[in-house]
């Protein structure tokens, strides 16, 4: 084991060393310092004001201002989208502007924009009203003209005409009512013309009829085209109406009813000449208004364009400022109220960079006092930080999805980089499909730069993020496929027998039993190897943390238990293969437990097997209490010793520095609950013992999925392609080929690879990582502008 000590520490195996730091910044350089730290992105600030509400914090006003500015910027972007203005993002020709200037500018722009909007709304309303008026003029003119066509007797006779005109039959009986229409000069036949929603016209007419007790004549003409309602702004079907009536009371009633139904009345003169004059005036005004409206829209669009070209920059600026103030809110004012004190985590390798940055901030803010930056001790556990590049990032995320590694714990990602694609390939192993995956991975990798700047859909994003995973999966699939001589069910490759499965197996009746036996044994062998790797990693973890207790009372009994049972099974498999014996391994294993002293007979694989089996069984039985009992008792003893030491220390130094032994640490030492520790250890041991059996069996899914894949490929090949190819017709061949291609692409490539991916993932997460991984850490989230941009997306 000495050779492992002399090796340098491996990248990625353990998380970066972190240290807890304290920053003391004078108030004038604080903002600049935090901004520069945000650009550097390597410090995670601790929120010292957790218990305060957002309104009690120091910089609440600034945050409010930033929120206001964000709202204004969003308003602008909404307006730009509504107007459909496309603005070119001009490169940073404009100088950087200050935040206060930006605020003032934004306020100005917003005010202007709102004004322009209200003005154009008013103009639009007037425009629509005039349009309606024009319509009413033309249609009502028609109605009036037709009414005048009937002979124009003096006014009194007109009354009779009204009564005699064709009206609804229902109105007839009211004629006898004979409302007395005064024949004073006011009671000439008058009319009201206007426009109303088509849907309301019928109700309107009935209402008018009831109100005037039948003494009115309602004539209507549809407007023909949809009209934009001035009030609601929507396009609706309207009807132009003319109501003939006499008497002032009737007029008042009619006008009130018009009001309540939302009909707009427009004064239409009786004489044709005047009508035409009105018409001309209205048209003229309309064209004027159009010109004005257009000019208004142009003006607004220009303003929006100028805003739009800067919008992106401004948004980022405001976002950054808000983030800076949110971070500043996490700091505390110190006693003198002149400095801000902050605490946080940073990786040790970044300390010099941070010091540089802070010096720069002091310089740029013309502050007299420098920023103090020093390390502190703390009992909190540090966050976990892995410096991943684009290749290892995907694998690290796969591991992190199960649980973030504890600080300085062995990182399974180091081995998963290879074993995960490998186990995938064992289940997927097919070099034809592997080549398809390879092509897909190449496409994604070669267009890396272009695709990383685009916004992709959620599925594409996952595929793009995992492009290196897919690449490795494809390479291993091709290798495993060659070994298994599986080739998308298509071509029988003439592989030389020393490499891979002898092709003479193909198509034979005993192919399946042979392959099943091979693959089941292969799964067991791979499973036992991976689990052993996991336990060995737990050894290295214990050694790194100097935890001899774990080595003696956990690692050793676990190794003994697993290997005396399942390691022995693996050994039997190898011996059976090498010797060609006909021993039944199921029988051997089961009777090892049921009847260890019994005679093996035909199942004897080597000399001394019975004695060895008894020995291994005894070792396994001994290992179980070995991993269960000693550790809790020893921990209790150790704790008692520590506790004794504590009480003495307390009596000795009463004026202890309150920082060095905080309350929480003291209480932690006191709270050693033996029952809890014992139960925990028991759960851990039972999990391991039972898990040894279930996990080994779980690896048989490697066999199951590879069988499924090969059978599916064969079925699709034989039943679809060959069958279709058998016919003479070209159409059938084409259809058959298309169906084969679709089935291959969707079922085999997509569904099977997702399935193999999932099962390989499960094997890693449960069977491999449960042997050594705790995964209860928390991720390092530095204050960084780059991460902010990612978050927003």
């Amino acid at each position: 084991m000495g050779v492992f000590d002399r090796l340098p520490p491996m990248d990625h195996l353990r998380s970066e060393k972190m240290c807890f730091v304290q920053l003391i910044m004078p108030a004038e350089s604080a903002r600049l310092a935090v901004t520069y730290l945000g650009e550097l992105g390597l410090v995670q600030f601790k929120d010292l004001n957790e218990d305060k509400s957002p309104f009690q914090r120091i910089f609440v006003n600034q945050v409010k201002r930033c929120a206001e500015m964000t709202r204004k910027l969003r308003f602008f972007s909404d307006q730009i989208n509504k107007a459909g203005v496309k603005s070119s993002v001009r490169p940073a020709l404009q100088p950087d502007i200050d935040l206060e200037e930006l605020e003032a500018k934004l306020g100005e722009h917003e005010h202007d924009l709102l004004e322009m909007n209200t003005n154009s709304e008013k103009l639009l309303q007037t425009y629509n009203e005039l349009l309606e008026f024009k319509l009413v003029l033309s249609k009502a003119g028609g109605i009036l003209a037709s009414s005048h066509n009937h002979a124009t007797p003096p006014e009194r006779e007109l009354d009779e005409h009204i009564y005699n005109k064709e009206m609804d039959d229902g109105n007839a009986y009211l004629l006898e009512e004979g409302v007395h229409l005064g024949t004073t000069d006011n009671s000439g036949v008058k009319f009201v013309s206007g426009i109303i929603l088509k849907s309301k016209a019928l109700a309107f007419e009935r209402m008018l009829f009831r109100a005037t007790r039948g003494n009115m004549f309602f004539n209507q003409a549809p407007a023909g085209e949809p009209v934009t309602d001035p009030i609601s702004g929507e396009e609706v079907e309207k009807t132009v109406f003319v109501v003939f009536f006499s008497g002032d009371q009737a007029k008042a009633k009619i006008l009130k009813i018009c009001n309540s139904f939302g009909a707009s009345c427009y004064p239409v003169p009786e004489e044709m000449v005047k009508q035409r004059q009105f018409f001309r005036e209205v048209s003229a005004r309309l064209s004027d208004l159009e010109v004005t409206l257009d000019a208004g829209i142009q003006h607004r669009n220009k303003a929006l364009e100028s805003v739009g070209s800067q919008l992106w920059r401004w948004t980022i600026m405001v976002k950054k400022e808000k983030a800076v103030y949110d971070t500043l809110n996490m700091l505390n004012f110190d006693v003198t109220k002149k400095c801000l004190v902050g605490e946080g985590w940073c990786p040790i390798f970044a300390i010099s960079q941070i010091k540089d940055v802070l010096q720069r901030a002091t310089l740029h803010s013309n502050s007299q006092v420098g920023i103090i930056f020093h390390e502190m001790d703390t009992i909190d556990s540090p966050p976990t930080y892995f410096r991943t590049d684009k290749f290892t990032n995907a694998f690290q995320e796969i591991v992190d999805a199960y649980g973030i590694a504890r600080y300085e714990e062995a990182n399974p990602a180091v081995y998963s980089v290879i074993t995960f694609p490998f186990l995938f390939a064992v289940m997927f192993g097919d070099w034809g499909h592997g080549i398809c995956l390879l092509l897909g991975a190449f496409v994604l990798i070669l267009r890396e730069k272009k695709l990383s700047s685009q916004k992709l859909g959620s599925f594409m994003e996952m595929a793009f993020g995992g492009r290196y995973v897919i690449l490795l999966m494809a390479l291993f699939s091709i290798y495993c496929g060659l070994i298994d001589a599986h080739t998308a069910g298509l071509i029988k490759v003439r592989d030389p027998y020393p490499f891979g499965v002898d092709p003479s197996w193909r198509g034979s009746r005993s192919e399946l039993p042979f392959l099943n036996s091979l693959k089941m044994k292969m799964s067991i062998l791979m499973g036992v190897s991976q689990m052993n790797l996991g336990i060995v990693l737990s050894y290295f973890d214990a050694k790194f943390h100097g935890n001899a207790l774990d080595i003696r009372y956990q690692f050793i009994p676990q190794m003994i238990f697993l290997n005396s049972l399942f390691g022995y099974l693996a050994l039997l498999i190898l011996i059976k293969w090498c010797s060609g014996s006909k021993a039944d391994l199921y029988h051997v294993m089961i009777y090892m437990f049921l009847d260890p002293a019994g005679d093996l007979g035909e199942n004897q694989l080597f000399w001394g097997q019975k004695e060895l089996q008894i020995l291994l069984l005894l070792m396994a039985i001994v290992a179980v209490p070995w991993m269960l009992f000693p550790k809790p008792f020893i921990l209790r003893k150790l704790h008692k010793e520590r506790f004794q030491g504590h009480t003495y220390r307390f009596l000795g130094t009463s004026e202890m520095d309150p920082d060095s032994e905080p309350d929480s640490a003291r209480s932690r030492h006191d709270n050693f609950n033996f029952t809890e520790v014992f139960v925990h250890q028991m759960i851990h041991s039972i999990e391991f013992v039972l898990g040894a059996v279930s996990n080994t069996a779980s690896y048989l899914r490697l066999w199951a999925l590879s069988l499924a894949h090969s059978e599916l490929s064969t079925v699709f090949y034989e039943k679809l392609l060959l069958l279709a190819w058998g016919y003479d017709s070209l159409v059938v061949k084409l259809v058959g080929f298309i169906v084969f291609a679709f089935a291959t692409a969707f079922i085999l490539l997509m569904m099977e690879s997702l399935s193999a991916f999932l099962h390989a993932l499960r094997l890693h997460w449960v069977e491999f990582m449960s042997k050594f991984y705790h995964g209860d850490g928390y991720k390092f989230k530095p204050f960084s502008f780059a991460l902010l941009a990612d978050d927003e997306d």
Partner: protein, 69 residues
Amino acid sequence: MGFLVTTLIFLLSGGVASLLSLLCCNRGPSTNLFHLTLVITATVCCWMMWAIVYLAQLKPLINPILSGE
């Protein structure tokens, strides 16, 4: 070709791959160790796959029974 010979071939190719990785992407001792671990793991996995399939066919218990031609 024999089991041992092919195992030796795997060993040699693993060694060549590690040397290549050391030469091409030499980025500090800890990163080199990481790359070495990856190469060794890959070699071991590939060898294991081949060895299992080879050993299983060494002394087969059943022979391919061709469906009667």
